[in-house]
Symmetry: D3
Subunit: 135 residues, 6 copies
């Protein structure tokens, strides 16, 4: 399996509900350094997994929707804790939508899987990985 | 699959037996920067893979048992080479015991797998990964 | 000159005032990975720049005051933009207060300088460095 | 599954053919920081996945073949785009040849898989991973 | 002294002249991950060392001039070895020109110094640092 | 000022004397990832601070003397705590000896300073830096 990975980041505010979260129940924030890995069993004619330029643009566009925001006020996340693992899947789903809409260009229809990792500090990260089902 | 990862470290002395090891047959030491990844197919109500606070405490407690020690004198490792890959499994097994004893709290019974990586320098690391069987 | 460096982190929310800041005028947040470097021209009897345990506790205590907070609501920063460079000096000043109060223990009175670096992402950081004047 | 990983690097020149590549169609270059992971389901008598010294030599020898070269002039890659993902498989195949020739020593015949990752910058990488079939 | 740092990168081909360079006399290439640090003794009204957006644009614009090029064919470097340390000064000088032309905006006239570091691999880097003289 | 930096590592065992050190009074160990920075105000004819190949060999040779050893048994350190900051100066002094003996080759007599940093984990490091006096 071939994989290519691109990195971006976003800086958001949020708070969590539940005693589990201790002081993170207060409004605070995070920088998420985000790695998106695209996997495919073989390479296309040009020798690439995917057009990395268009894939990067798709990732940037997804992160831009969340960047510099207070996620507590985003209706998409109403009633949800926007934990690192939760946000990994949000990024996964939104990049996948762009792949399916054709935004990522030729070859992206052959992608077999994706993994999104959010690094929240030098000691903690979370990820969501899944196969990409044929739509 | 969702994964969360926490990082700790330990600083130990040890020596290896076997010509294979060359100068590492002498008593020497290592800092191991340790990443423990916890995986689970879906998130609980709070939106988390596991209570990261309690998971971190479990990891810290396991590393504390080994930290600042000469592993050559630890009866648990008698007759064993405490290589990086061997120690990755030691950490895996000991964190798993804590999960099974309930120390890591609600949700941890749904963990599907774990991966432990020990970075021994900027150029070398080793890991042990396995599914968590229902006990 | 000898230097020892310890690392911690904090996760805060804040917003900035001024067109200069573009979208960062909105409430957002950041993880700051914080390195505090302590410098001294020679080593004490034990062969250390400073009691690293006590120095780490001082740093942790300073970061704890800011961690998991919305800095916009902290009266200490009223009317200020809590930029990365501004916060580097806040951490510097608060660690210095702890050094001067004796919290960092014997040897810390011989410290010649300190540098505080806040990494806000994989591509940006800011620092504040100064000599420590004899009080 | 146990895994050990070793790191090396190479510095090459090359160019790509295809509009997809934009300015990378010009002759340019890259440092590839290369991680090779060797996996095996259990450890040998010495407690190791593989003789890490010999495995490192095999990786170094493979990277040496490519290092400080203009890959556009290497007949092995004639008519190919030497993209990061393509080169990950080249390194994989060449390390595998050395394993199969016995160069990596006892135990290497039990390796179950390998993953080769090439980091081309702080924001991009590519990898190739596969099971090692019994020859 | 306050410092802010921004990171970019460039991917170039080149060769060196002189026996000193061994195999690097051949045409090869490098990824340079580039950190540019801007220093200033005090902060402006907005609480910043410099408008980081405009400073980043200046750095990006400088790196863009060199990115995806064969430096052996750049008349600016005719008869020169474009070593890592040499290129650190090239980037320094070109960013400084942009500061002096007013491109980096208000506050940049108060910058006291700059340091440019080029990381060429996980084990080697070079930098050029100097005070900024009043023009 | 121009600076070039090379990285190596060593893996040692040792123990410390003094209550200050808590559990580090026991025999334990560390991996030190070592950066040696060489500084010089201008570049030589070849465009380099120093022959990086020979400088790297000098660093490797110094680290080799300490690597895979129990420093408690090294007569050079009798009665000393081999703390990270202490060892930074040991490496500094030994590299300087090699510079003065001519081992690092032409140009090294023009070096103006050196800084040695030992990273002992992902959260702690120490360094020693000094001007190089003309001998």
């Amino acid at each position: 399996m071939y994989t290519v990975s691109v990195r971006g980041h976003m800086m958001i505010a949020h708070s969590f509900r539940g005693e589990l979260f201790g002081p993170a129940q207060r409004l605070h924030g995070a920088t998420y350094v985000v790695d998106v890995e695209f996997s495919r069993p073989d390479l296309g004619d040009e020798g690439v997994v995917v057009d990395i330029g268009r894939a990067s643009q798709a990732v940037t566009s997804v992160l831009h929707e969340l960047d510099f925001k207070n996620l507590d006020e985003d209706p998409d996340f109403s009633g949800k804790n926007t934990t690192t693992e939760f946000l990994a899947k949000v990024v996964f789903d939104r990049v996948l939508l762009r792949i399916r809409s054709g935004e990522v260009g030729p070859g992206s229809e052959k992608l077999a899987g994706m993994k999104v990792t959010l690094h929240e500090s030098h000691i903690a990260s979370a990820s969501y990985a899944a196969a990409i089902e044929r739509s």
